[in-house]
Amino acid sequence: MVRWQRGLWLFFLPSFGLLAVVLLWPLGYAIYLSFFDYYLGSDVRSFVGLGNYADLLTEGRLWNSMWTTILIAFGSVALEFIVGFALALALYRLHQSAKVFSVLLFLPHIVTPVVAALFLKWMLASNWGFIDATLLTFDIVPPDWLGDPIWAKISVILADAWVFTPLVMMVLYAALQGLDTSVVEAAQIDGANNWRVLRHIIVPALIPAIIFTISVRLMDVFRFFDIIYVLTGGGPGTATETITIYTYQLGFRMLEVGKASALGVITLIVVASLLLTINRVLNSIYRGGDQ
């Protein structure tokens, strides 16, 4: 029996080893570095304890990037969820012809985000971009999509939504396919109209998929980097500077690796607590605290 147990550890080792190398070691190293005043390239590493954290939490730029992140994250996830869910429901109703539509709608997600962002940058370019050119033909003066602080935020949100709404749609569409249709029919016979069937039957049945989608998207959007980097680079000024853009600036522009590591750890804590809260709230709304 003891030998058998020892044998089991051997099976566990490869995956644990892989996890340790790609996940635990970098994480531990980042936490370790966050306690040092350390510039990339310098040989000197001085221990500052929680100094980096104190510095970050007292400076305005962190809070500014935090609010920007929250705004963009909730804005884009809300948009992706509402549009994605609506599209998933539409596809669900379409039945047979749905397959063609789902492939078409999924296209933006197949493109690499950086490429999608470059494409959008051309679309949104002032005066001669596709969108501006189109609006100008109707004598509508377009806003400065990427140069105005407010429009830049909106553009970034729309760009993220353009790339990731198809993912949300597909996950929710797949979940809808697994729905017990007789439960929906029972509700119709019980007197529920379409809206009430959606609210009382379909949404509660999709809660696990909804929690999954929102969690994955929020996690992702808090690490949102590539599209913003290509579209605005965090600008104009710091209008679209999210935590990850700020972390990048700290680590690779200002070379303050210790501080950047501390910001990474803060991001981790914020995202983890946010996800736990969302998970609990959504679960308690629909499961009556039973689970």
Partner: protein, 353 residues
């Protein structure tokens, strides 16, 4: 409570017609069972009545009101599904009260009605539980509770006992009968199990390939099946069928393989007519001077004895209530009385009166 009229109901899916002008008249308070093999259209017909499928042609009336194209919620019907279709995130009480809530009945009245229905079905202790915390039989009962709470005009049951084990099925069968007696509501019940149909129905509708084959009381169908299909579908073990012709004296039958069966009295078809003879296994008697047969297999069920016989190469099943000392390979004589023989036309399959 209300009567239910189905007039020339036709249903097509794309170009495929699955119901071909079905006419059924169901009286107020009647318990009607739609029975037939898989794919006969019985569930489709039930879904047409419920409004879960659009009728292609024809009319459905509940009472005097035409409901053919109304939304399910406006038909005043309740349905019990094969999978129970309980709302998994709601308690038993919420499940049962859902239809009342959708009709904006106030909370206290809702609670009263749910409790009254729960009492009828013995669910009072389970009101706080979730469906996943219930056994199959309890779920079935909750599904019925959800149907009766709102006092609809017609109950629809779609193979509600298929997911239960044999013992529970027998128990629920009588519970549904009891419930019908208590409430007196019109019931349309779909099943592929002819025993369920025979034991529960006031009237049975036998369906095949989208057509109604026969409508009648259970014993009517058993005693006077309208055609070969109904004859072999109703009754277990199934009716024996032998192809042949009536003897010149109209008192006997000769099968195509030459087996002769004497009835001891004249039968209805004319002499020398080609027929298919139907004999129920339980109508076969033993007689030393009767038709000779060889015992192939003996299957005692405890209560009865099922005997598979060989009649000159034709398979034949007999059911005896006595424990006859029969052995495989043994020869015996069979007796069939004239009034227990059924005759069908070989071309049309219809009963010969």
């Amino acid at each position: 409570m209300a009567s239910l009229t189905i007039q020339h109901a036709t249903k097509s899916f794309g170009g495929l017609e699955v119901l071909h002008g079905v006419d059924i008249q169901i009286a107020d308070g009647e318990f009607v069972v739609l029975v037939g093999p898989s794919g006969c259209g019985k569930s489709t017909l039930l879904r047409l009545i419920a409004g879960l499928e659009d009728i292609t042609q024809g009319e459905i009336l509940i009472g005097d009101r035409e409901v053919s194209h109304l939304h399910p919620k406006d038909r005043d019907i309740a349905m019990v599904f094969q999978s129970y279709a309980l709302y998994p995130h709601m308690t038993v009480e919420e499940n049962m009260g859902f239809s009342l809530r959708m009709r904006d009945v106030n909370l206290s009245e809702r609670k009263d009605k749910v409790r009254a229905s729960a009492e009828i079905l013995g669910l009072t202790n389970l009101l706080g539980r979730y469906p996943r915390q219930l056994s199959g039989g309890q779920r079935q009962r909750v599904a019925m509770g959800r149907a009766i709470v709102r006092d609809p005009k017609v109950f629809l049951f779609d193979e509600p006992l298929s997911n239960l084990d044999a013992k529970l099925r027998v128990q629920m069968r009588s519970e549904i009968r009891e419930l019908h007696k208590k409430l007196g509501t019109t019931i349309v019940y779909v099943t592929h199990d002819q025993i369920e149909a025979m034991t529960m129905a006031d009237t049975i509708v036998v369906m095949r390939d989208g057509y109604v084959e026969q409508i009648g009381s259970p014993l009517d169908l058993y005693d006077r099946p309208a055609n070969i299909f109904v004859g072999s579908f109703i009754g277990s073990p199934a009716m024996n069928m032998l192809e042949g012709r009536i003897g010149g004296d109209r008192q006997s039958f000769v099968s195509n393989r030459g087996t002769q069966i004497a009835f001891g009295a004249p039968v209805s078809p004319e002499a020398d007519r080609k027929v298919i003879l139907g004999i129920r296994p339980e109508d076969i008697g033993v007689s030393e001077t009767g038709t000779p047969a060889m015992v192939r297999q003996v299957e005692p069920t405890g209560a009865d004895l099922h005997v598979n016989l060989d009649l000159d190469g034709d398979g034949f099943t007999a059911l005896f209530h006595e424990r006859l000392p029969l052995e495989e390979g043994q020869n015996m004589g069979l007796k069939v009385l004239a009034d227990q023989a059924h005759f069908f036309d070989p071309d049309s399959g219809k009963r010969i009166e």
